[in-house]
Symmetry: C3
Subunit: 437 residues, 3 copies
């Protein structure tokens, strides 16, 4: 991980997550709204409400779900499972229920993890009207025969699907999208970490000079991106680059999953930034994961990849009560934020330059850009100057040069600026068609 | 190896080989005809006879060779080498001889393998009028000085070159070629195994629905494919895909040798099928081997690869008496047959589909194609559904999808059928130019 | 390394280097002229003189430097450092100086290598008027306090930059360039070895049949190639292939650094020749090294690579007094010369041929090109015949065939000649555009 000027934001992100952790979010409802309002205290976030029943492509905006309490009382009347202790205890989107039933009858409604007997699983029933409870397998095995009372005091009724947007206008209307699913209940890495990194990223970018317009979406997974795309086709057409952010706080190395295109600028930028960290991984697109599934559906095929640390399903804490505040680390959050900034810097600053002295090398020494006494190895910055000069023929952008030379983009950018400063280089902008494909 | 419904054919193929093993085949003559007639009892095979002297490109159909007996008698009159014991004892295509000669004079006509002293080698003299005997080196070394009598009662005279064809008409005139050299004498893997697999493959395909016309050729090596190509240039122009089958019964892993083109559909199909077996090998084309040499000559450049287990020359039993019925295994024959069927299934069924709901994923759950309760890993078939939907943009065929997703073609095909069944997908046929290049 | 008919030239090259070793060369001056005159006794070399002050692209031809003596006398008057003992003792291009100074004052002008305390470093001050001495760190540490006398009796004055050319006219005006920096003082591998190999290469090529015109340049590094390019833009436009030769005598394996294009014919030819030696290395272009930096600047982008053994900066003797005559080996020089000859043979002889019998293989046996008795492995030359026939469709040159078959170019060339001799092949020349891009 890279230390930086902004390390103080790691603890701040973790503290924000701690505030949001107890809230029972779902794909609709007040827990989601409450979460967005807290994020909106850090950067301006506009909330939109889409009515239940709205058709969104092949889907329909579902009923709104809200829950007050949920518990199971044992034959002795003791509440042995209680939603107040952990929002994962209730199957998310459970319909209301209040009845007495024998353990054998209740048993099919109880979900546990025999292989991880101390953890509560995370289960959902979004598109099938059902109900259930989640509990540790150890607790499940301890339940004795007898009549239990179950109560889920929830409502599943016409209402709205909510999502939040933070739009940072740029010099051009072409957009960079940052999309964060914000619908999971008490799960820290998946995806309070993504929400915390996104909101602090937005806070930093809000005060920076921006070329692209940058749009942050805080949405419920799947149905949220489908709803936004169905209601914003024109805006979707302006998205040039995008990142889905998730699982950014665990101690594992960074992972980038390419967009469906595989060689979009965001794919190359993320690969370049991650290459500086030895253990990082860059994976090909697969049509399973987070909302990149929708952005990369063939009818949109947007250049949207997904940045995580350990990907979904690949850490044992995934979708269990062990994905808690201890599992996520301030330094990992900070490192993830820095990588987002470096990727976006490339999206913002990559362009081609033209060497104005293309025949033989220019004499850098008399311009103060080269050491005077020859004979030994060349320092990295001087090497970057030579690379920029050699490849600035109008066909290579700075990222092309950074990739071919294995010099970090920032150093290449610095070399280009220095050469531009002495009149040896001229910016050409993006090569024809580069930003648009 | 893959067990399948058809495992009973493994022993049947081996039994057929046992029947054919003793026959002395050559590139012409009655042994070859007798072999084809036996194969014709399993599937209909048409025999063609091309007269000696017929010009076929740069070659001429040779004289027909037939042999009745061949032996060497030692000074005491004992027949120490006798063709009746093993068809390999005579150099194939030996001209007739009957004479007495000293061992020293006979010695240059005797072929053995000093490094494999117990094995009889396989030698031919097709295009040089000569004669000779093959025997084990141990036997050769035991011959004592003295006058020997040699007899080869053969005829090398104007006659015919014979080949067999089994044509299975399809919906279209474009063809799949299966070519099998059938000229070797008592060698089991090379190539009674290819003949047995081909004839059982033809029997299965004969009762299946077929798109392509499928042509099986049972030919003498080299001169047979040259003769067929020279006399069927129009038919050759209809061959879209092809396989040369050889050495399909040894216990080694499967090997596919690419066509000269290297990226033809048959090359990709075979690589996909073989990839399911960890130890399998896919090799680049080289202009040495079997009849793919002729099909892939630059004037034809057909998309014909070669499927073997251990390739020619790479097993110590190759071209010796150790390539016998013990060396080939019923389960290996069966596995080879199944691989042929799977490759041909891809050649027959690969096409592009169009996702009719390309914007975001369709809701598979309400169509019964997706589990209702979320939270854990996705089963393989559901993953295949997502891959087919994501890549069915008209630019990817099912094999493209299978390769990119590493999902077996059959699963991808099943997913496409299911999606077509619920109206989410429409078949487009082969992408433009796909089948023809 | 490959033994060859010409091994006698290894010692001759080493002997030539021994003659030239003591001379103090620089980028201008009489040491350079004296060196070229000695090389001119082996092959005709034309010397050109370019006046100081001549503008050459972004640079200016510098003043001419000549030196007669340079020494440091210790407080007792003993000459403790003397240029007569080693030309590296003076910082190359030092301005004249004659003064007395305390050791502390002198100290910043003294260069040594603390990590290699017994070696004298090589230092230059070409483009900053300065002076200095180089000595071993051990000697530096032995200097006692006191007043020293320093003398550099040099002149840095208007004069000329000298370079040498040896032009071998060919059938066509398109050129192969061989460029050798010849400006370093007493350094054996860098680059007396390049000079020795180049001049013996020229001697051999001078008496051979040549297609291309071959130009050898003996130039001062950097400013020499810039000067030549600035004054020969028309000639530069005729260069089709080129090699910079340097560090060709050390015992390391051969290394080829690709041209900026990366896939030019010279890049492929060198990679093919070096592939025969297991330990050899082929490196991508970087814009640091020798004069390929100028030839590969984006305004020229010539197909010029660099052949070395151990590259510059990668051997501990580099730019020190340990790069001496013991460090370079006659057999390494000879091996380098042979590799140059084989690379140039490919540049000269690579072309496409057309198989005149493209349908099926021709019958090589009746033309005496194939063994008569079948049954075992194919010898290498027969395999080369099959490769040439199979790929000679007008789209593959001999080098393409050599690369694909992994058969040495010379064997492929021999096979093509044999096939041409029996009328099966016809030379087509370079494929369209091949030689010119």
């Amino acid at each position: 991980m890279t230390a930086s000027e902004g390390t103080a934001t790691g603890p701040a992100m973790h503290a924000l997550m701690a505030e949001l952790y107890p809230i029972c979010r779902s794909i609709t409802g007040n827990g989601f709204r409450q979460t967005l309002r807290r994020l909106g205290e850090i950067v301006p976030i506009t909330l939109s409400e889409v009515p239940t029943g709205t058709p969104v492509f092949d889907w329909t905006v579902p009923k709104e779900w809200n829950i007050r309490e949920a518990w199971i009382a044992d034959p002795a009347g003791r509440r042995v499972v209680d939603f107040r202790n952990h929002s994962l205890h209730v199957v998310n989107y459970s319909v209301p229920v209040r009845q007495r039933m024998a353990l054998a009858e209740l048993r099919p409604k109880l979900h546990s993890l025999p292989d991880q007997p101390d953890l509560i699983p995370y289960r959902t029933a979004y598109y099938a009207e059902d109900w259930g409870f989640c509990l540790s397998h150890r607790q499940l095995e301890g339940l004795r025969e007898g009549e239990y009372e179950v109560c889920i005091d929830s409502t599943l009724a016409p209402g709205h699907l909510t999502y939040g947007e933070c739009l940072l206008p740029g010099e051009v209307s072409e957009e960079i999208l940052v999309s964060v699913h914000s619908c999971h209940p008490s799960l820290a890495n998946d995806n309070l970490s993504g929400m915390a990194v996104a909101v602090f990223l937005a806070r930093q970018l809000a005060v920076a000079k921006r070329k692209h317009t940058i749009r942050f979406l805080f949405i419920p997974g799947t149905i949220g991106s489908i709803t936004w795309l169905a209601t914003h086709e024109a805006e979707a057409g302006r998205i040039r680059h995008g990142l889905v952010l998730s699982c950014l706080g665990d101690p594992g190395p960074s992972t980038y999953k390419r967009s469906r295109r595989g060689d979009a600028l965001v794919d190359r930028a993320a690969a370049h930034v991650l290459a500086e960290e030895g253990a990082s991984r860059v994976l090909d697109f697969i049509p399973y994961g987070y909302d990149e599934r929708q952005y990369c559906s063939p009818g949109f095929d947007l250049a949207v990849g997904c940045l995580t640390r350990t990907p979904n399903g690949k850490f044992p804490e995934y979708h269990t009560s062990a994905d808690n505040l201890d599992f996520v680390r301030p330094d990992a959050l900070e490192d993830s934020l820095q990588k987002c900034l470096r990727i976006i810097e490339i999206l913002e600053r990559d362009e081609a330059y033209l060497n104005l002295n293309p025949k033989c090398e220019p004499q850098l020494g008399r311009r103060g850009l080269y050491r005077a006494t020859g004979g030994r190895d060349l320092p990295g910055f001087e090497m970057a100057l030579l690379w920029v000069l050699n490849l600035s023929d109008g066909r290579h952008t700075l990222l092309d040069i950074a990739q071919r030379s294995a010099v970090p983009f920032r150093v290449v950018l610095g070399a280009a600026s220095a050469l531009e400063g002495v009149g040896l280089l001229r910016a050409l902008g993006s090569p024809l068609g580069h930003g648009s494909c």
